[in-house]
C-alpha cells in the first residue's frame, strides 16, 4: 500500500476513438437548442463514428498500455472497437427513418448511442476490472434510456424500466465479483492477476472462484445467458426496433469482449469453470431455441433467437483456448451483420402505421418488396446457419474448435439446436413468400440510409461467408494479442 504516489501518465492518443465519439456526442448536446438539431445530429454522429473508426484502424499495429495501465490498445481491442462502431453507425442510419416515422426523433438519441458505443470501446480497450466496470455502466445507462425512448408507448416504458432494474441488479453481482477478485489478488489489473496467478491461487483460490462466479452472473445478465435471460424478450419487444437491433448485437459483443478478457485471459488458469460454462451454454441455446419456436411476433422471436446465439457463443468459453476464442470473435462479427440486417427489415416493416411486427404481417411481403424479401431470406438463412453465409462458418469454426477441444457432446447438442432453429427462421421466409394476404400489402418506403444498411449487412453476410478465411485470420491475430 505504499505505491499510491505513482506517476501521472496521460496518453490522449490512445483513447482517440473514444474521445471522437464523446466529442461528437458533446457537440450534439450543445447544439440541441437549435431547431433542426435532429437533422444534423445523425450527420454529426456519423462523422464522429467515421473519425473514431479511422483512429481505431490506425491503432491496429500498436500494442501499448497507457494511463498507468488503465488503457490497453491491442488488436483485440481494435477489432472490437471497429465492430462496435460499425454496429452503432448502422443503427444510426436505420434509426433516423424509423424514429421519424414514429414521431419520436430527438437529437439526444444520437448522443446516447454514441456515448453507449464509447462505453463499449472503453470496455474492450482495457485489462483493468474497474475500467471494465465503468465502461459497462457507460454502455448500459444510455441503453436503459434508449429502450424507453418511445415515451408514449407503454411497452417501451416497460422495456426501459425492466432493463434498468435488471441491469442494475446484474451490476450488483458484477461489482461484488470484482470486489472479491480484488480481495483475493489485491489488484484489479488482469495482467497482474495473470503474472501472480500461482501465488494468488495458493492463497485464496476459493475467493477467486466466488468472485469469478459472481462475475459470471453479472455478465450472464448482460449477454442474456439462461437462467439470466428473463428480461430479454420484453425488453427487446418493447424497445424501438433500431434500439433492439443495437441491443441484440453491440452490448452482447461488448459483454463477450469483457468475458474473453476476463475468463479467456485473466482467469484462464483457474480451471473447473469450464463445466459451468458448458451447462450455461447448453441451457442458453436450448431454452432460447425452444421458446423461439412458439413466438408469433417477429421481434420476440428474434429476441429468443439472440438468446440462442449467445448460447452458441458461450460454447467458446467452455472450450477455452485460442481457437475457440478466435472462432467466437468471428461469430460475433458475422452475427452483428446478419442480426442487424434481420432487424433492419423488421424495423422497415414496422414503419408502416399500426404495425406490431407480427408474423402474420409478413404475408405478401415478397410481392410488394421482392428484393427486400430476398435479403430477409438471406439473413434468416444465415441466422439458421446455412452455407454459404457467414452464419454457417461462424458455427462451423465454433463447433470444430469444440470438437478439437474434446467437447463432442456439447457440439452434438449445439448442432441439434441449430436444426431446431431452422424451423422458426424459415417460417419467416415461408410466410413472406407463400402466405396469402387479403388485399394488397402496404409498401414500406425505403430511405437511402436503410438501403445502405441493408446493402452493407447483406454484402457482409454473403461476402464473409464466401471468404471466411481472411476474417478468421484477423480474429486469430486479435486473440494472439493477449492469449
Amino acid at each position: 500500500m505504499t505505491d499510491y504516489v505513482s506517476t501521472l501518465s496521460i496518453d490522449i492518443g490512445l483513447i482517440g476513438p473514444e474521445l471522437a465519439l464523446l466529442i461528437a456526442a458533446a457537440v450534439i448536446l450543445l447544439l440541441i437548442f437549435t431547431r433542426k438539431a435532429d437533422r444534423f445530429a445523425t450527420a454529426i454522429g456519423l462523422i464522429g463514428l467515421v473519425v473514431s473508426m479511422v483512429l481505431t484502424v490506425r491503432q491496429w499495429d500498436v500494442k501499448v498500455g497507457g494511463f498507468s495501465g488503465m488503457v490497453t490498445v491491442d488488436q483485440f481491442a481494435v477489432l472490437f472497437k471497429l465492430l462496435f462502431a460499425v454496429a452503432s453507425g448502422l443503427t444510426l442510419l436505420l434509426a433516423e427513418r424509423y424514429f421519424h416515422a414514429k414521431h419520436i426523433a430527438r437529437p439526444e438519441f444520437t448522443a446516447l448511442l454514441l456515448v453507449s458505443t464509447m462505453g463499449m470501446m472503453v470496455m474492450a480497450g482495457t485489462t483493468d476490472l474497474i475500467v471494465i466496470f465503468l465502461g459497462l455502466e457507460i454502455m448500459s445507462v444510455p441503453l436503459y434510456v434508449m429502450a424507453g425512448f418511445n415515451r408514449r408507448s407503454l411497452e417501451s416504458n416497460e422495456s426501459g424500466i425492466k432493463y434498468f432494474i435488471m441491469g442494475a441488479f446484474a451490476t450488483g453481482f458484477l461489482l461484488m465479483g470484482i470486489a472479491l477478485i480484488y480481495g483475493a489478488s489485491e489488484t484489479t489489473d488482469l495482467r497482474r492477476i495473470v503474472t501472480d496467478f500461482s501465488y494468488i491461487a495458493t492463497n485464496a483460490k476459493l475467493f477467486l472462484f466466488t468472485g469469478a462466479a459472481l462475475m459470471m452472473v453479472g455478465f450472464g445478465f448482460k449477454v442474456g445467458a439462461v437462467p439470466f435471460h428473463s428480461w430479454i424478450p420484453d425488453v427487446y419487444q418493447g424497445a424501438p426496433t433500431p434500439v433492439t437491433a443495437f441491443f441484440s448485437v453491440a452490448p452482447k459483443a461488448a459483454g463477450f469482449a469483457a468475458l474473453l478478457r476476463i475468463f479467456a485471459y485473466g482467469l484462464k488458469d483457474l480451471g473447473a469453470l469450464s463445466d459451468v460454462w458448458w451447462i450455461l451454454a447448453v441451457l442458453t441455446m436450448t431454452v432460447g431455441n425452444i421458446l423461439a419456436l412458439r413466438q408469433e411476433n417477429v421481434k420476440r422471436m428474434l429476441a429468443y433467437s439472440s438468446i440462442a446465439h449467445a448460447g452458441y457463443m458461450l460454447v467458446a468459453l467452455a472450450v477455452g483456448g485460442a481457437d475457440a476464442a478466435s472462432a467466437v470473435i468471428f461469430y460475433l462479427i458475422g452475427y452483428t451483420l446478419f442480426n442487424l440486417g434481420g432487424f433492419t427489415v423488421v424495423a422497415l416493416l414496422e414503419t408502416r402505421a399500426g404495425s406490431r411486427a407480427d408474423f402474420s404481417e409478413m404475408a405478401g411481403l415478397s410481392k410488394a418488396h421482392p428484393y427486400l424479401t430476398a435479403t430477409l431470406a438471406l439473413f434468416m438463412f444465415s441466422l439458421s446457419g446455412f452455407p454459404p453465409t457467414v452464419g454457417f462458418f461462424g458455427k462451423f469454426y465454433l463447433f470444430s474448435a469444440a470438437v478439437k477441444g474434446g467437447f463432442i457432446w456439447l457440439t452434438v447438442i449445439g448442432v441439434m439446436n441449430s436444426f431446431v432453429s431452422v424451423y422458426y427462421y424459415l417460417r419467416v421466409v415461408k410466410v413472406s413468400y407463400f402466405d396469402q394476404i387479403e388485399g394488397r400489402f402496404v409498401p414500406a418506403p425505403l430511405s437511402a440510409g436503410v438501403l445502405f444498411v441493408l446493402i452493407v449487412t447483406a454484402v457482409g453476410t454473403l461476402g464473409f461467408g464466401l471468404f471466411p478465411d481472411n476474417v478468421l485470420e484477423i480474429a486469430r491475430r486479435a486473440i494472439q494479442a493477449f492469449a
Binding site: L29, M70, G439, R440
Partner: protein
Amino acid sequence: MTIDAVIFVISAVVAIFGAAMMIAQRNPVASVLYLILSLIAQAVIYVQLGALFVGIMLVIVYAGAIMVLFLFVIMLLNLRGSEELGKPSGRVSRFTKYVITLLFFVELIFVIRGVALPPAPELVTNQPDAFGSVKAVSMLLFTKYLYPFQLTGVLMLIAVVGAVVIARREHPGELPDDTAAESTLAETPKEGTKA
C-alpha cells in the same frame, strides 16, 4: 477486548442489522432509514480502518444526498404501507430465496475463513499524508486512477442527459404515438376493382 475491537463489533453488527432490516421492511421509508443506519455504521468502520476520507464521503454522498433523494421520491409518491407494493411472494419462492441467500452467506464465510490474509499494516491516522487521508486518496485519484475517474464524469453526464430525456416535458413537434391508430397494414381491395 480493546476499545477498537468493541467499536468495530458494534458498528459491524449495526451495519448488518440495518442492511437486513432494510430488506425485511415493507414500509419504504423505514427501509431508507435502516439503510442510512447501515451506511453510517459502515462509515464508522472505514474511519476505524484509517480511511477517513472514504468514510466521510460515504456519509456525505450516500447518507446525505442519495438517501434524501430516495426519501423525497417516496414522499412524493406517498408510498406508505405495503398495499402499494403488491402481494408478498408465495411460500415456495420465499423459501427458495432464503435458502439460496443462506447458502451464499455460508459459502462466503467459508471463503473468507479459508483465505490467508496478509497481516494488517500499522495504521497511522490523522496525518496529512497517511493512508486514507484526503491527500493520499486524491494522489491516487489523479494519477493512477485518472482515467477511471474521468470516465465516472462521462457516466454522470450521460446519466443526467438520460434522465432529462426520459423526464422532459413534451416537445411541441412530437406527435402522439400512432400505435393506437387503426391498423392499415393491408389495404382492402375496393369493391368493383380487381385486386
